[in-house]
């Protein structure tokens, strides 16, 4: 460094300047700059200027000066920084030499490049070297290379000749030597140098490519760390771990692998992995490049592949390998975790056996069976489940069970641990839970679930037996409806209704029953029926089984049984019960309709009394009628007989008045006799009626005709008849009946021949309709009712003799035989009298 004043004289200089130019300090002060820099100085400011410097000994050397002005008290001074660029010049000269070949390379080299001569001085360097070491080029040129590479480099150079250096170098050529580089700031960093000789006009130079391997070293350290950690993991792994390189060689293994395969580590390192895994592994590695290996591996990552492992003793065992890539410095390695799955294989075989059996059971189960895991997903189901829910198996496996049982199932599983699930299940075991199932078409149907736990290797699963209870539900609804309806009927029934169980206890009663017996419902439910019906009811139930009760009831069905009911106030009243069985879900119950027959009983009693009275009365009446008639006969007989005697003996002997009087008396008396006889006959129909027996109606008719024989003969009447059936009748009365009707037919005639015809036809129900048809006078319809009345006559005494009791008699006889008598007639067209009689036994067949 020199400071010049405006005149160009050196006013200041430093020791380097002294050295550079070889002067002492004072020797330069106040000397003009041109002494040392002969030319070219004056005009240049600011730029690095290459000039020539002259030493004291008159030698010249190239310099570069940098000028700057300095303000001083005396005005501007010029400060010149002078650099000896001899080396540089020579380097430049050298560089120019090598420029053709190497300059580009040098500068372009990614690595720092330094040329070192046989003295160990740096003769050339590139910009990377500058950067790497933190020096400016000039600071290093000419310096010993040991400034930047303290150790290890220089020793490799033998200072006594380049030949030896070449020899020495020959060992180094191509090898990366790791050394320590030192920066300008004294910091050190790891480097790798690659040496190569270079012939130059100065002799053999050593070209050193210097690579900063800090990062690599870090990585290597890191890797070493990682490797250590990894190695630790590997050793600790429960599975055999083997690391294989792309060539298929084992580069790493752990102790477990040694145990598994029965080898010691050294026996396997470097060996092909196919020694221990004969097939299937190597094929998975593609040895022609990490990229492909990575692709191949990408498929394998995470999957367990089942292969066969081979031990040192040649025995084989089933293994599962899980592969994962491992990037190492050079390539992708494959880490294989090898698991001995002998046990698992055995268990799997056993499980598949069990599964086979279980599956068989599952498929054979009549109910739908679904197995659900702790997460509520279906893991297993049978064909019935498929059918019930309308899904194919695949559509349900893995699905949440809530798809088919929306509500109520999943809630029963606690997903946070099998223990809790087991507890939750413990409540469910054996109980049928009613829920709703949902089919694939969205329709829902009632189901009953029965849950049971199933331990599996994956935890506790829940087996659900699912029963479609639609039918049962429908039946229950129906039953509830029926019960509702029945209950309604029960309450609405006019009679008291009581339902009794096989134990004789009242289970249901209606409001009428409450009223009848004077109890409140609650007081009777559960009580024995004998509380209200002390005798006669319980005996009809056999308490030791519904079957017997049913049998016992079978006799009772439909019959009304009269018993005595007991009211709450202790009073009794007559009841009639009608029993019928009622099947309930559990047993046969007996429904008893209980009717209070107090009124009826009273009526019956009353009726019986009345009937008795009536009978007595009738009897009295009959007696009376008989006695009256009979006792009347006596005096009447006197009157009639004596008036006739009178008439006989004195007719014509007294005056005509007397004759007339006597005639009227006689007539009156005889009429009276006839009336009384008829009356007696009428009354005897009831009192002296015989029982009905099967008789021939034809026979009775013939008897009647015989009795009328005289009249028939006198009138020349023609009486005909059809075949007449056997009938149930009182014979005497039937004769009387025919006699009267035929007699009437003959009597009430116009002039001519009376013709009477009797016929009978079936009238249904075993009865016969008889008809007596005459060709007589006929009867005006307005008299049809009257003629059957007592003593009713339609004709004067002069016209026809008769008391008018004949048809009343007929009516009474017919009615006593349970029939009706009627007449069809038109005046002048004859009459047909019809009446019914019950036929004999045979008539049922005809």
């Amino acid at each position: 460094m020199l400071v010049l004043d405006q005149a160009g004289n050196i006013v200041l200089l430093n020791v380097q300047a002294e050295r550079q130019f070889g002067y002492g300090h004072d020797e330069l002060l106040q000397r003009p700059i041109t002494d040392i820099v002969p030319s070219g100085f004056a005009q240049q400011f600011g730029t690095g200027l290459e000039l020539i410097g002259r030493r004291k000994d008159r030698t010249e050397f190239p310099i570069e000066i940098m000028l700057t002005t300095v303000e001083g008290d005396d005005g501007f001074l010029v400060s010149a920084a002078i650099r000896d660029i001899t080396s540089r010049r020579s380097a430049e000269a050298h560089l120019a030499q090598v420029e053709g070949r190497y300059r580009g390379l040098l500068e372009a080299a990614p690595d720092a490049m330094v040329f070192v001569d046989s003295h160990g001085s740096i003769v050339l360097l590139n910009v990377q070297a500058e950067k790497q070491f933190g020096y400016h080029r000039d600071e290093l040129l000419g310096q010993q290379v040991s400034a930047i590479i303290p150790e290890g480099f220089a020793e490799r150079l033998i200072a006594d000749g380049t030949r030896s250096a070449a020899e020495a170098l020959a060992q180094q050529i191509g090898m990366g030597i790791e050394l320590i580089g030192r920066r300008k700031d004294r910091t050190e960093f790891p480097i790798e140098i690659m040496l190569s000789p270079h012939e130059s006009d100065r002799g053999i130079l050593v070209t050193a490519a210097i690579r900063d391997i800090t990062v690599r070293r870090n990585a290597e350290t890191h890797l070493a760390q990682m490797e250590a950690r990894y190695r630790g993991l590997m050793e600790a792994a429960p599975d055999g771990m083997v690391v294989v390189d792309p060539a298929g060689a084992i580069v790493l293994l752990n102790v477990r692998a040694e145990q598994q395969f029965g080898y010691s580590r050294d026996e396997l390192l470097g060996q092909q992995v196919s020694n221990i895994i004969p097939e299937g592994f190597a094929e998975r590695l593609i040895a022609d490049g990490t990229r492909s290996a990575a692709d191949a591996l990408a498929q394998q990552i995470g999957m367990g592949i089942e292969l066969i492992g081979r031990r040192k003793d040649r025995t084989e065992f089933p293994i599962e390998i899980m592969l994962s890539p491992l990037k190492s410095g050079q390539a992708i390695l494959v880490t294989a975790a090898i698991r001995d799955i002998s046990q698992r294989k055995k268990a799997e075989r056993y499980l598949s056996q069990m599964e086979g059996r279980y599956r068989g059971l599952l498929e054979a189960a009549p109910d739908a069976m679904v197995v659900v895991d702790a997460a509520g997903e279906i893991v297993l189901l049978n064909a019935q489940a498929e059918q019930q829910f309308g899904y194919r198996r695949d559509a349900l496996l893995g699905q949440p069970v809530t798809n088919i049982i929306p509500v109520g199932f999943a809630e029963r599983l606690i997903a946070d641990g099998t223990r809790n699930a087991a507890e939750a299940l413990a409540q469910q075991i054996g109980m049928g839970i009613e829920l709703l199932g949902r089919r694939s078409d969205g329709s829902e149907f009632p189901i009953e679930l029965m849950l049971s736990p199933l331990a599996s290797s994956e935890g506790i699963l829940v087996t659900a037996a699912i029963r479609n209870i639609s039918v049962r539900k429908a039946a229950e609804r129906h039953l509830a409806q029926m019960e509702g309806r029945y209950r309604g009927l029960l309450e609405a029934a006019p009679d008291a209704m009581v339902v009794v169980n096989a134990g004789g206890e009242i289970v249901i009663l209606n409001v009428r029953a409450e009223e009848q017996f004077g109890y409140h419902r609650d007081e009777l439910v559960g009580q024995r029926v004998t509380n209200i019906i002390p005798e006669g009811f319980a005996e009809r139930l056999i308490a030791d089984g519904t079957r017997c009760a049913a049998e016992a009831l079978a006799q009772q069905i439909g019959t009304g049984i009269e018993l005595s009911g007991l009211r709450k106030d202790g009073s009794r009243f007559p009841i009639e019960i009608m029993l019928s069985p009622l099947e309930s879900a559990d047993s046969i119950l007996v429904t008893a309709a209980i009717r209070d027959i107090t009124v009826r009983k009273a009526a019956e009693t009353h009726l019986a009394e009345k009937v008795d009275e009536l009978n007595r009365s009738n009897e009295e009446l009959g007696q009376f009628a008989y006695i009256a008639s009979h006792d009347l006969q006596e005096p009447l007989r006197m009157v009639a007989s004596y008036t006739q005697l009178l008439s006989r003996r004195y007719k014509g002997k007294l005056d005509s008045d007397a004759d007339e009087f006597i005639a009227f008396a006689v007539d009156g008396a005889s009429r009276m006799q006839r009336l009384i006889q008829d009356l007696l006959a009428y009354s005897r129909i009831g009192t002296q009626g015989a029982g009905m027996s099967e008789i021939s109606s034809e026979g009775a008719l013939e008897q009647a005709l015989t009795n009328l024989g005289g009249t028939i003969g006198d009138t020349g009447a023609v009486v005909t008849h059809d075949a007449l059936p056997p009938v149930m009748a009182d014979e005497t009365q039937l004769i009387q009946l025919f006699q009267n009707l035929v007699g009437n037919g003959i009597k009430y005639q116009r002039p001519g021949v009376p013709a009477i015809h009797i016929s009978a036809r079936p009238a249904g129900g075993g009865k016969w309709a008889f008809s007596v048809k005459d060709n007589g006078l006929g009867i005006d319809p307005k008299y049809f009712e009257r003629i059957f009345g007592m003593f009713q006559r339609l004709h004067k005494r002069e016209e026809f003799v008769g008391t008018g009791i004949g048809l009343a008699l007929c009516k009474k006889i017919v009615e006593r035989h349970g029939g009706n008598i009627s007449v069809e007639s038109q005046p002048g067209l004859g009459s047909t009298f019809r009446f019914e009689l019950s036929g004999g036994v045979q008539s049922w067949r005809s």
Partner: protein, 151 residues
């Protein structure tokens, strides 16, 4: 014609309480048979007195035929019948019940008491006369009666 009595008179005892009936019967027998002597007892006591020839009836003839009505005051006809048929000497006299009753019970009872026959009095006069004629014809003409001397 069987004449049982040498005198030719037939004694008939009529036990009848109705005077009207008595007269009718008399008239009817008169028509039928002029040889009949009709004795009348108007009740059972008189009848027995007559038959037993007691008191005023000490000289009463033994009747060849008894016509007995059932409904009598004091001693009833059935009792008379019974008495007659229990009496050794009287029971051989034919006793004919002649009554208005047609009751089956009376008929049966009469025969049980050994009435010789039972006849119902007809209501009509001519029928009655005809019946009396039949009695006469049968009992007094056709039938062999025991002679009186046998008592």
């Amino acid at each position: 014609m069987a004449i049982v009595n040498p005198t030719g008179i037939i004694d008939v005892l009529l036990v009848e309480d109705s005077p009207g009936d008595v007269r009718l019967t008399q008239e009817a027998f008169r028509e039928a048979n002029g040889s009949i002597r009709l004795h009348v007892a108007s009740d059972g006591v008189e009848a027995m007195s007559f038959l037993n020839r007691e008191g005023v009836n000490a000289n009463a003839p033994r009747p060849d035929l008894i016509l007995l009505d059932l409904n009598l005051p004091r001693l009833d006809g059935r009792e008379v019948l019974a008495l007659i048929k229990e009496n050794d000497s009287l029971k051989t006299i034919p006793t004919v019940i002649l009554t208005t009753s047609e009751a089956e019970a009376d008929i049966v009872k009469s025969y049980q008491l050994r009435a010789n026959c039972y006849l119902s009095k007809p209501v009509q006069l001519d029928a009655f006369e005809s019946l009396v004629g039949s009695i006469n014809d049968f009992w007094l003409n056709k039938v062999k009666l025991p002679t009186q001397k046998q008592d």
